[in-house]
Subunit: 300 residues, 2 copies
């Protein structure tokens, strides 16, 4: 864990969806997040076209901005182009990424290019929120109500269902939708007390929220994507929905546009990170890149 | 080339050492740069220890901040840890990087971790300058004088001289010094009209400065690192010295601290990017990752 020196303009460092930086006398706080998207780890050449890779690589970071209620400003993209990737592939990758960025008001501001054996990219996104208003993981308190957006398990169902690119679930996997409008609504209108995106799966990301807030959670079955199992909905990653908490009595609508908002449980005062599902212990089984030996990015 | 939409808080996009972002009502402009450092492309496991990799990976981006006169604020580090890299290696990498960052007032604010076959890292650094004062590549005008810091060619001499880690030149290669204090001095005191770091070699980076400023340059022999050839001083990369221009008559001291500042030539009105060395055409032979097929980061 890296300590932030006193008086630093860095308001929040490692341990949330984004770091928060406060520029001198600025009206806004700035959010920063970086996510890698790597051949053989996060995607396969066979299932993901160049345009898919560009779009999903950016969506991963945009989802972190959404979780803190931010508006995307710009991105930096570092690409290791594998030897198999033609200039046409690279063009399609950047065309997809930049037009997807533009659809959220963000611009490609820079980056780096190199050539290696395996294709990998690293996408850094900067977002902005009015000073002091970013949604964080650490504000959930006992009695706060837990909600989730969307229907879960579709992405992992698409990836493992064996039905190829045509299935609804695979379309879901290949077309993640960062919930930027929802994040802004949670921050401005619902005054959510904590939020996180569930890109690593509901159980793992709920545990992170509970650990950061030093609370416990009791949940029911989350809403499921058609065909997804309960296991897939509880633990499947690459979802990009938002998990959030609100003060008891907050009037949360049943949907935000077409997107369902479902109450799935309640925060209680237990061991930090403790989770129960229908009264029995729920283990955090989502996908965690931050495995044991790599302790520099430890969660709080 | 990616166009910046009108009214965007992005003041400068792709095409300089850093992008420039202006936060709402901020006293500062923010500088952003990302650089990759990849096994087999930028370094070898045999010659570079974990601490070297951490330090140099950060130095590359810090040098871009120096070239624009900025003060480093924070960094984001995405690491693809190869399977050969033990947790001890990863610890040494991060320890080196974070303590090196701290020595320049910067903090590790986040990033991403994954495991792959080849070790690669991508370091994004944010720097700050008072609003509107960033040094850029595009301000050189005919009659402006061209200066360079330090003595050139040592890094390439160290890498190719075959004398191992003990030689002075190899120490130079393994211990790049981003010229942050000099960059600030150029911005605040000398009011340099343009600046660039020469991480890809003097000839290539001088060409970039001339292209951005739409001017030509006539230079003499640059100062050489002991033992380096003229070719190595003119074209060798990984130098991290600053190349800058000042208005004619500017009183530039012979050194900044221990670092020599040498006048090497003059800007003139010729074809943009044209360069002459002792009256004959000088070709840009430095190292360019941004090779032909990868045209998204085209220089202006």
């Amino acid at each position: 864990m890296v300590a932030i020196p006193p008086g630093s303009p860095l308001v929040l460092g490692i341990g949330d969806d984004c770091a928060i930086y406060r520029p001198r006398r600025s009206a806004d706080d700035l959010l920063f997040t970086a996510d890698q998207f790597i051949e053989g780890v996060h995607f396969l050449r066979e299932t993901h076209k160049a345009a898919d890779v560009g779009r999903i690589a950016l969506a991963r970071s945009l989802s972190d901005i959404a979780a803190m209620g931010g508006s995307p400003q710009f991105c930096l993209v570092s690409l290791c182009a594998a030897r198999w990737a033609s200039s046409r592939w690279v063009d399609a990758f950047f065309d997809s990424l930049t037009s997807y960025a533009a659809s959220f008001g963000a611009v490609l501001a820079g980056g780096d290019l190199a050539q290696t054996e395996t294709l990998a990219c690293d996408v850094t996104v900067c977002g902005a929120v009015p000073r002091g208003t970013a949604l964080r993981r650490d504000g959930a308190r006992p009695s706060h109500e837990i909600y989730v957006s969307g229907k879960l398990g579709g992405s992992i169902l698409g990836l493992t269902g064996g039905k190829g690119r045509a299935s609804k679930a695979m379309k879901r996997h290949l077309n993640p939708e960062p919930r930027l409008a929802l994040g802004k609504y949670l921050r401005e209108s619902l005054h959510a007390t904590a939020a996180i995106d569930i890109s690593d799966g509901l159980s793992l990301d709920l545990e992170r929220l509970c650990l950061a807030s030093r609370v416990a959670a009791e949940i029911e079955d989350p809403p499921r994507f058609p065909g997804a199992t309960l296991e897939q909905a509880l633990h499947g990653g690459e979802e990009y929905e938002l998990l959030f908490t609100v003060r008891p009595g907050t009037r949360v609508p049943a949907s935000f546009g077409d997107l369902p908002l479902t109450r799935i449980g309640t925060i209680f005062k237990g061991s930090p990170g403790e989770m129960r599902h229908h009264g029995t212990t729920l283990a955090a089984l989502g996908f965690d890149h931050f495995a044991k030996p790599l302790n520099h990015f430890n969660k709080p």
